[in-house]
């Protein structure tokens, strides 16, 4: 019997989030159909999220520990990502509260599924066994598919959810096939054993190892929406409720990138010899370059801000891939790991804020059946100057303009890339992100320069909880931009125990 109760402490954030989901499910039974007594649900979910956030932050400095006989690990990057995911969850449920109430779709299951999905994300970032990776990936994905189909208005949500499901399951099947080949090469599904098999690979089994690595990477490339596996993103991000889109963009990306880094560095870090001095690095470089280019180019013609943000999330996946490429090697490069974690945190705060404001506009438009277009943003500055300022801040941060979080994030990643000798990739990244300025600033122009076409307010519904969440996002974005050193413990502890 290999169970040690202390192992539960290592996965405490996931345990807390699961318990929170169960608590919401249990209390849901006692509620009337459409009573006002549902108001507490988002706050209960947020409380569990905050506890998980607190736990993962307080464990940050602890030494790394192997859990469940090597199936998972409590290390720096797992804890940092758990903190990012928990924070993402708190902000998203607060933004969802008013949104769902306005569209009369407020149910406890929404928050329960969000909590379960966050638990899956935390475990995914801590998994060191491909079977745990796979199950955690499915927990996260199944919950997010259901959240995508949450609204019953029009054809878009169901279509988006089904498309997401089909491509997500396709990615899972590919990942599974890769895991099977990895098992064939290593005789085990532990990432550590895989590293051993990679190191000892001979002419025969290296084929097996390459195929396994390629299939596992493709599986994750779907999840993080890297080119050429990005085609599901615009429709899915557009069809999902805006708070869920923010949660998807921030949380799923954070967990999937941490795991991709863990598999590539921890498992395939030693691929070398027959594949060139840097192993798979050149492939990731190509993937990153193409993803940055495609995301930024396709975002330019978009008239809907929600769709534009979807394409921009592809571009951001490209920047994150740059940091993965910069990590390459049997020992991960420190500054690239810091860059990855900081970028994920800064992107989470920014993108949730941006989708939060999209949510405020969307819930106003939803009864009319209209979709969000740049013209609907006109006049926001006159009627809601604070929201306009916040949206401009988020756009500037996504574009990477100082002094925002996005600038510091890009700085960290591109600096790491240059130090890793990937100068052309870094220059290419800077150029594409400069091209991104155009479509981000166009939103700001519409907010401030274009007058409103209709007399009624641009946004609708109760705003208090959403306002609190947006304020938190804005504060985080400025804070991370002005004083990145304050987040040093979050990023720098992420290296502990990572790699081997």
């Amino acid at each position: 019997m290999n169970f040690n109760p202390n192992d539960l402490v290592g996965i405490l954030p996931a345990v807390i989030l699961t318990l929170g989901g169960c608590a919401l499910m249990t209390t849901e039974v006692f509620l009337r159909k459409d009573g006002p007594d549902r108001r507490y649900q988002p706050f209960l979910a947020a409380v569990f999220g905050l506890i998980a956030l607190y736990v993962s932050l307080s464990q940050l400095g602890d030494p790394s520990a192997t859990l469940f006989a090597g199936a998972a690990v409590a290390d720096g990057i797992g804890r940092s990502i758990s903190a990012v995911v928990s924070g993402t969850l708190v902000l998203s449920v607060l933004l969802a509260a008013g949104y769902l109430e306005t569209l009369s779709a407020s149910r406890g299951e929404f928050y329960a599924l969000a909590l379960f999905s966050a638990a899956g994300m935390c475990l995914l970032s801590q998994a060191t066994d491909l079977i745990v990776v796979f199950i955690a990936l499915e927990v996260m994905s199944l919950a997010v598919y259901s959240l995508t189909a949450w609204l019953r208005k029009g054809t878009k949500p169901a279509e988006a959810a089904f498309k997401y499901f089909v491509l997500g399951s396709f990615a899972s099947a590919i990942f599974l096939y890769g895991a099977a080949l990895a098992f064939g090469a290593a005789g085990s599904t532990r990432i550590a054993d895989l590293a051993l098999a990679v190191r000892n690979a001979n002419a025969g089994s290296s084929m097996l190892v390459y195929a396994a690595g390629a299939l596992l990477t493709v599986g994750f490339a779907f999840k993080v929406a890297a080119f050429p596996f990005h085609m599901w993103v615009p429709d899915v991000y557009d069809g999902a409720p805006a708070p869920v889109t923010g949660f998807m963009a921030a949380g799923v990306k954070a967990a999937a990138f941490a795991t991709l880094a863990r598999i590539l560095i921890g498992g395939f870090g030693d691929v070398g010899a027959s594949m060139g001095p840097h192993g798979w690095q050149s492939l990731i470089v190509l993937l990153a370059g193409a993803t940055m280019l495609v995301g930024n180019v396709l975002a330019v013609p978009q008239r809907s801000v929600k769709r534009m943000l979807a394409y921009s999330s592809i571009a951001h996946a490209g920047y994150l891939l740059v940091s993965i490429a910069a990590m390459a090697g049997s020992e991960p490069r420190q500054d690239a790991v810091f860059g990855l974690v900081f970028y994920l945190a800064s992107y989470a705060a920014t993108v949730i804020g941006a989708f939060g404001i999209v949510a405020l506009i969307e819930r106003k438009l939803a009864p009319t059946g209209a979709s969000d277009d740049l013209t609907t943003w006109g006049g926001l500055a006159q009627k809601h100057p604070l929201l306009a300022a916040a949206m401009s801040l988020f756009m500037l941060s996504l574009a990477g303009v100082p002094p925002t979080a996005g600038f510091m994030g890009k700085l960290g990643i591109f600096r790491a890339a240059i130090e890793a000798g990937l100068v052309p990739l870094a220059i290419f990244g800077v150029l594409t992100s400069a091209a991104g300025l155009y479509y981000y600033l166009r939103v700001v122009v519409y907010i401030y320069m274009v007058p409103s076409t209709k007399p009624e307010p641009v946004v609708g519904g109760r705003m208090l909880t959403a306002g609190v969440a947006l304020a938190a996002c804005a504060v985080l974005v400025i804070w991370m931009g002005v004083q990145p050193g304050a987040f040093a413990t979050l990023t720098q502890s992420s290296l502990a125990g990572f790699g081997k």
């Binding site: 019997m1 859990l67 599924l113 475990l123 199944l142 019953r152």
Partner: protein, 180 residues
């Protein structure tokens, strides 16, 4: 020898039924072919000494998944014109040939030659205990051996699967509801 013949019979059955799954227009035919495909697959599992997996494959797929599929198909009550007309494009053919060719080549030339190294790794002493895990007195693939590995050495995946099933139940119920 008998095993080899059986294996090839099952393999042809798997591929033929699998092709029926993806080629039949009628979803009921597709679902029934899927069950046939998985029966043949269960046969190969028996030949590979995975008796528990084989019987579970039949019970889960014939007993649960098939019923679920057919139930949903009946519930939706598809009319013939709603099934769509089959498209025959040149891309289908090209895609099929290239995909099968590429994977077949990899499996035949590359992965097959890895066979020896797989055996070599199995014998390697460097692997962690889990990889080498065997239970004295329980033959390979027996219920006892698999149960030992599942319940004693896979605590986290096992518990995580229960969370997955909970999520699937909640998600399916919520999504299938007509009104939130």
């Amino acid at each position: 020898m008998a095993e080899t013949i059986l294996f090839y019979i099952f393999a042809i059955g798997v591929l033929f039924a699998g092709a029926q799954v993806v080629l039949r227009r009628n979803p009921v035919h597709g679902a029934l072919s899927l069950v046939a495909c998985f029966f043949f697959l269960a046969g190969t599992y028996v030949l590979l000494a995975a008796h528990l997996i084989a019987i579970l494959q039949i019970m889960v797929y014939a007993g649960a998944v098939m019923v679920l599929f057919v139930f949903v198909i009946m519930l939706l009550n598809l009319k013939d014109e709603e099934l769509g007309t089959p498209r025959r494009t040149i891309w289908k053919g090209i895609g099929l040939v290239s995909v099968v060719g590429a994977t077949g080549a990899v499996a035949w030339r590359g992965l097959g030659s890895a066979y020896d190294s797989v055996l070599a790794h199995g014998a390697a002493t460097q692997l962690t205990d889990m990889a080498k895990h065997t239970l004295p007195g329980a033959p390979f693939g027996s219920l006892k051996a698999v149960a030992h590995a599942v319940y004693l050495n896979s605590v986290l995946p096992f518990e995580l699967t229960s969370l997955l099933l909970l999520v699937a139940v909640v998600g399916a119920v919520v999504v299938a509801k007509g009104k939130i």
